[in-house]
């Protein structure tokens, strides 16, 4: 389970997140939507402890992530897989090593097991041919698929996806979301997905949170959202783009 409790984040006098509270029940997927700059990426970074709130608390299952130090956060991050908005692929190693990286860092598995897992994931995302390529040689869609592979290679029970299909064509977008669903199903992972792809989110997610200028303006089941009276939400669903 993921829970945010009255979280506020202030930078340069601006409230980037203002008293944000919501939770994601274990095994469910939350669609986090909102206009650009509404604070969505920040929420994801708060959940995995990459940044700290100025007030409020963030929980991942029993761990109060907002209060842990970097060393203890490492243990929590093993249970999380994060897909970054701008790929954040390591440009100093090839694709195969990118996916293997977390496993090699944590050192629990033998080299053979690691290679097997990497190969499995890469074939799942259809990138076995690219294993030895450098990340700079890949297209946007391919990079996103490597991200997905790296984020799920350690079978995390929690997945955080920051705009997994930004800038991709419609066909690739569908493919990515299909992959996401498939990978999620393997672990019945709890997930937060930030995206503007309304149709895909409608099918993939159980709950919706709409952020407007750092505040939660809607928090409920996906089925309720479509019928919501709130104009912001209706506009989102009807126009198919973020307000």
């Amino acid at each position: 389970m993921i829970r945010l409790d009255s979280v506020t984040l202030v930078r340069d006098g601006i409230r980037l997140l203002d008293d944000v509270s919501f939770s994601v029940p274990t095994g469910q997927a939350l669609a986090l939507i909102g206009a650009g700059g509404s604070g969505k990426s920040l929420v994801l970074k708060l959940v995995c402890g990459l940044i700290r709130p100025d007030s409020g608390r963030v929980f991942v299952d029993e761990d109060e992530v907002s209060a842990l130090d970097e060393v203890r956060l490492m243990a929590v991050r093993r249970r999380i897989g994060m897909v970054f908005q701008n790929y954040a692929l390591f440009d100093f190693v090839d694709v195969g090593e990118n996916v293997a990286f977390p496993l090699r860092q944590w050192g629990d598995l033998s080299a053979a097991e690691i290679d097997a897992r990497v190969e499995r994931r890469l074939s799942q995302v259809n990138l076995t041919d690219a294993t030895r390529k450098l990340t700079s040689a890949l297209s946007g869609g391919m990079k996103k698929r490597v991200c997905l592979a790296r984020a799920t290679v350690h079978d995390p029970p929690i997945m955080l996806c920051d705009d997994p299909t930004a800038g991709l064509d419609p066909v690739t977008t569908n493919r990515i979301f299909a992959l996401l669903a498939q990978l999620r199903a393997e672990n019945t992972a709890t997930a937060i997905i930030v995206s503007h792809e309304v149709e895909a989110l409608r099918q993939a997610c159980d709950r919706v949170v709409l952020l407007e200028r750092g505040r939660v303006v809607f928090d409920g089941a996906m089925s309720d959202a479509a019928q919501s009276e709130y104009t912001g939400l209706r506009a989102f669903f009807e126009a198919g783009v973020a307000p």
């Binding site: 990459l50 970097e70 490492m74 970054f84 954040a88 440009d91 990286f101 860092q105």
Partner: protein, 255 residues
């Protein structure tokens, strides 16, 4: 003055990173292979640069000194003996330090800075690799190994360049140039100590600037500039401090 404020914040940040790195080193040694690879990289990338710059430095120093000596004493036989100690304990380490600050400092700041702005450092943290452990630690150890080596190479190059120049310009006998009489163990110790200090501090300063990078290409540009300025200034300030202490240890004004 805001410049002083900036310098103070910078110094504090660097001190904190130094402490963190020391702590990380006590916890776990980075794999030897990684350190040697980094050290080799640092050395390799800088060797040509050091050879050229210190070579010319040696040439200039000996040329100037030789010219004055010839004008005043009419005799250049003591040039080699006189310039070597200065080279070993002062000009050698300082200029090698400045060159490393320039070459390696910007290199490290650019590498780490671009990793920060492309969120690779965040991704590293997600994969259990803290930036201090994974990025800073090996580079500091590499500097500790590589910079003294470069000091030896650079000082050697400057010395040889001096030999060549004095022979060409003043017909100085190479046999008289090669004169270690005035160079003492204390000079070598001072030079080596400076090289070690620079080797540790320059990567830390550069990594600190890199880790502070914010906001795309502009951030990387700013980080690299900050790195080279801070590192160069640190070299000069430390040079004075260490030199003053050494001067005092040698017996000060009564030496």
């Amino acid at each position: 003055m805001s410049a002083l404020r900036f310098a103070w914040d910078e110094a504090r940040g660097v001190a904190r990173l130094l402490a963190d790195t020391a702590q990380a080193l006590l916890r776990a040694r980075p794999p030897a292979a990684v350190v040697w690879a980094q050290a080799f990289d640092v050395g390799n990338r800088s060797v040509f640069f050091i050879l050229v710059t210190l070579g010319f430095l040696g040439a200039i120093l000996n040329f100037q000194t030789g010219f004055q000596a010839q004008r005043i004493f009419g005799d250049t036989s003591l040039i080699g003996a006189a310039t070597l100690p200065i080279l070993v304990r002062q000009l050698g380490p300082t200029l090698v330090g400045l060159m490393v600050a320039i070459r390696v400092g910007t290199g490290i700041a650019a590498e780490i800075g671009s990793m920060v702005v492309t969120e690779q450092v965040d991704a590293l943290r997600m994969c259990g690799a803290g930036p201090v452990d994974y990025l800073v630690k090996p580079r500091v150890l590499a500097g500790l190994i590589a910079v003294p080596a470069l000091w030896v190479i650079g000082t050697g190059a400057a010395w040889m360049a001096g030999l060549w120049v004095t022979h060409l310009a003043f017909q100085t006998n190479p046999a008289t140039y090669v004169n270690l009489d005035l160079t003492r163990g204390a000079d070598v110790a001072e030079g080596l100590f400076k090289a070690v200090v620079f080797g540790i501090l320059i990567p830390v300063i550069a990594a600190h600037s890199g880790l502070q990078a914010r906001g795309g290409s502009e951030g990387v540009g700013r980080a690299t500039t900050q790195a080279v300025v801070s590192a160069s200034l640190a070299v000069i300030v430390l040079d004075l401090l260490i030199g003053a202490v050494a001067f005092g240890l040698r017996g000060g004004a009564g030496a």
